[in-house]
Amino acid sequence: MRVRHLTDIEMQGLLDRRDVVVPSQVPGVLYLKDLDSQEHIDNCPVCSAELNLYRQLYGELEEQPQVKLPRNFATRVTFSLPPFKAQRTRARLQLATIWGVSFLVSLFWMVAQIDFSSLVARVLTSGYELYGQMTLALFALGGLLPHIEINALQYLSPLLGVWDSVVGAFSTDSDHLNLVVLAGTVLAMIAWIDHVFLSSLRRER
């Protein structure tokens, strides 16, 4: 009868399954749950020798010398870096710049919407209206842009659409300007809640 020897995959599989080694037994000896394999290994000098070789190889691989870098390596690396700056402060400054630029752009956009022929008269007579629109822009953009997240950006476009239609509906009626300011505040609140929610999600991750 032809004897089937264990393959390399089987031998490595046996040694990788560390749970088959019974700790209370003689150290370095593999005890298999699969008695047929164990019996074969015990009686087959070829498989036994191969398995011993693999076992020794595993031992050597796990005991390979660790690389040692010079003792002052960490200090050297730290000193080689550019001057330490709070990276988050830098990021906040960048976001603040984005917000500032966006605010100015929105301001110019609003000014462009105004009929320049009656600008002076409108500012004088409807100063509160302009103030209301600016407050709305300030709240909406101020609430959103410093906390730009990919998910928040999904809300940006519809929010601005709502804002545009609200302004369009109420900007000529100064009696409703309080509503316009209120809408801006609500938009800012939505953006803020969105930001807090996303931050907490990220912290949980």
Partner: protein
């Protein structure tokens, strides 16, 4: 001139960080401190991961004098990209991935193949021994260890790296897969082939008695 306590100028009080207090600190806190601008926290990060990075670099870029500079470059990259790290994986896995890709780029520049025997033939046993950390441990099975060390260097770079990450750094298949951008199954397959190749190389070069002596 050092700031004196008698100085009347309202200088801000200097902040002293004790690097020892960062040992064993949670990686999230450590990263937060680094991003707040604390150089000692970064120093601790380097200390925590220098062996891991060194192991990858020394395994992937054998026999080159600029390996320490490569390790330094890797930590500079870690510093530069730390604010983009979102803890989607373990910090050590992320750092090892940077080490691996940096070494790959280095090898590409040198046009070293990744899946062929690529160790410099000139590397001697003495050179291999000089890397051994604990000479006392190597007195017993010194000869076998040297042989294994030598033969790992003859394996393809990727195989040697996987062996090192799995057996020495005790990383899981999933972690190695993340580092090498390979599926778990491929990692298992490479690991099997690497061990088989290593065993066969040892059998070809040395007799069974020699190996098991």
């Amino acid at each position: 001139m050092l700031h004196s306590e008698k100085c009347n100028f309202p200088c801000p009080k200097p902040v002293y960080y004790d690097v020892r207090s960062y040992a064993g600190q949670d990686p999230r806190q450590l990263v937060d401190r680094i991003l707040s601008g604390d150089p000692n926290a970064f120093k601790q990060l380097v200390k925590d991961h220098e062996r891991l990075v060194g192991q990858v670099v020394f395994r992937m870029v054998p026999g080159e004098s600029d390996r320490e500079d490569l390790c330094q470059d890797i930590f500079v990259k870690v510093y530069q990209n730390l604010d983009s790290f979102r803890f989607d994986s373990k910090l050590s896995t992320w750092i090892t991935r940077i080490a691996y890709t940096t070494c790959l780029n280095h090898l590409e520049k040198k046009k070293t193949p990744l899946f062929e025997d690529c160790s410099p033939e000139g590397k001697t046993i003495d050179e291999c021994e000089s890397n051994n950390g604990d000479p006392a441990r190597w007195t017993d099975s010194r000869r076998t260890s040297v042989k294994v060390c030598e033969e790992i260097d003859r394996l393809p770079v990727v195989y040697g790296t996987i062996l090192s990450l799995f057996h020495l750094q005790e990383m899981t298949y999933a972690e190695i897969g993340q580092i090498l951008s390979l599926p778990e199954g491929t990692v298992k397959s490479y690991l099997f082939r690497a061990r088989k190749m290593l065993k066969e190389q040892l059998q070809v070069r040395f007799s069974l008695e020699e190996l098991c002596a």
